[in-house]
């Protein structure tokens, strides 16, 4: 499933050392770019995608044909203006859109499956930094990410402080909470309980663990929305019927919507990638990586930071952003922070929001 995609691919020169102590040989990073890189290579913005995102931030998705996931933010004249900036978005390692992941072919000629090493957010960023090295970009104008992309953004700021001038983090956190881990575990168990998962060795077979992956996606999708947003969108309205069926079909619109989200997701995402990437997020604790004190993670930074949270986001609530802001205050870093009003919960960072646009544009300029 990895070689049919149109992206540019950068093969890392060296094996990628991982936090687990293992190494990833022959690592490839698939990426897209938007806008011209200037001769000084000083106008590059690295965009980090979320758990199930990919490099198609502002171009059509090759499998679904849908527009890029952040076209309203990234493009000519948009807040992240590709007339001025060279935007790079790469698929993270462990994913399934062209970068090396569990569906890729291992050196022995067979897909990795569960032989793929467990990776961390920092490993993902290590891969991204390898890409930047390959592209000859020493210092980014900015690194930008929402959700898991925000974790990568913070990780880059902490571990490669000389690589970016501006750090923009949306709807994210410096550590996964017990509740975050719990929801991910639910998703992983759904995948692993699917008989088609076959301990991850389903590549080339007749069936994939689509049912398990769909349930994982449905559960996760609920965490991306808000109670208010769901009520507004669906309420208790019934789906294509006038009365309850007194059965277990998708009577309610919200059920139908979730089923659609779940099955649609299996068309474009690999179940094993879902296991690996959720694990990486669960392992993420930036303070732990730096001796237990988050402020120490940012001791070397001279970058400007901007954090944005949304008041209805209960996945990575405002308190998590504030936690990062307080750590940055303690190191006297240049930091901005704003909590925006939005009804859509965690997903708000992807949706139209005038204030968000103004903050992003102002910070990036």
């Amino acid at each position: 499933m990895t070689n049919t995609l149109a992206s540019k691919v950068h093969a890392l020169n060296d094996a990628l050392p991982l936090d687990s102590g293992q190494v990833l040989e022959h690592c490839e990073i698939a990426y897209e770019t938007y806008g011209e890189l200037n001769p000084e290579k000083s106008n590059a913005i690295l965009l980090c995608h979320a758990l199930t995102g990919d490099q198609y931030v502002a171009s059509n998705h090759p499998i679904t044909g849908k527009p890029g996931w952040w076209e309203r933010m990234v493009g000519p004249g948009n807040p992240i203006d590709t007339d001025r900036f060279h935007v790079i978005c790469a698929n993270v390692i462990g994913s399934c859109m062209g970068s090396t992941g569990p569906a890729s072919i291992a050196p022995d000629g067979k897909p990795y499956g569960m032989r793929f090493p467990v990776i961390t957010i920092r490993d993902m960023v290590r891969g991204l930094v390898g890409l930047l090295d390959g592209l000859g970009i020493e210092k980014l104008h900015a690194v930008v990410g929402g959700s898991m992309g925000g974790m990568q953004t913070l990780s880059l700021a902490a571990n490669w402080p000389e690589r970016a001038q501006r750090i923009l983090v949306l709807a994210s956190t410096a550590r996964h909470s017990a509740q975050n881990i719990a929801f991910h575990e639910l998703g992983r168990q759904a995948i692993m309980a699917d008989p088609n998962w076959a301990d991850g060795a389903y590549y080339g077979g007749d069936a994939k663990p689509d049912n398990g992956l769909a349930v994982a996606r449905m559960a996760a999708h609920i965490t991306y929305l808000s109670e208010e947003g769901l009520t507004e969108k669906f309420g208790r309205r019934l789906q294509d019927r006038d009365a309850k069926s007194f059965g277990f079909e998708a009577d309610f619109q919200v059920e139908s919507y979730l089923r659609y989200q779940g099955s649609g997701f299996t068309q474009r995402f690999d179940a094993n990638s879902y296991l690996y990437i959720t694990r990486a997020m669960d392992y993420f604790d930036l303070a732990e990586e730096h001796g237990g004190k988050l402020a120490d993670a940012f001791a070397e930074t001279s970058a400007r930071f901007c954090l944005i949270s949304f008041d209805t986001d209960w996945l990575y609530p405002t308190a998590e952003s504030r936690h990062v802001v307080h750590a940055l205050n303690a190191t006297s870093a240049k930091v901005s922070f704003v909590e925006l009003n939005a009804t859509a919960g965690h997903d708000s960072f992807l949706l139209p929001h005038d204030q968000l646009d103004r903050v992003v544009r102002g910070f990036i300029e």
Partner: protein, 199 residues
Amino acid sequence: MSTLRFDLAAIADQIGLEKKDARVLDVGCGDGALMAALEAEHGADVRGVELDPVKVERCVSRGLSVVQGDANTDLANYPDKAFDFAVLSRTLQTTNRPDQVLEELLRVAGVAFVSFPNFAHWGTRAALMFGGKMPVTNALPVSWYETENIHHVTVEDFRALVSQKGAKIAREWNFANERAIGSLGANWRAEIAVFQLSC
């Protein structure tokens, strides 16, 4: 060159006189007017704290480093003497515990500028004495039921608090009708008072 409001201009000028490239924390920075002036005119390295998210957005959109936060609680995160100057402009009287906020200001910065509407101004006194109503004046333009000012303070009250905290008043500016007046009889005459404090 500055179009700053008179009380902010006094603070900006004094910071400019005392130190180039100063590190400044502006608590209750509003739309960032003072911050922008300090950066543009005095090369200062300025951070802001502001409660209102709309104002924070305006600040960040103009390239200022401003954190949405609360003067009552969020100063605790800054290390001791992280700044040369801390500014609390027309905000003291809105805090839950002005005395504790003052302590925090003087912890995070060597020098603090604090301004507030003087509740002992003759106009205020007259409104209470003759009108029997909570005053609505130039410096206190909002009715009692809508105002954010929960701890009204006078010049004399503030001097007493500073002395009680063991801090020193280095300078004092008093304003009426947006013009500087002498400190003589300031507790009667000043609508807005600005104090420069040090530990």
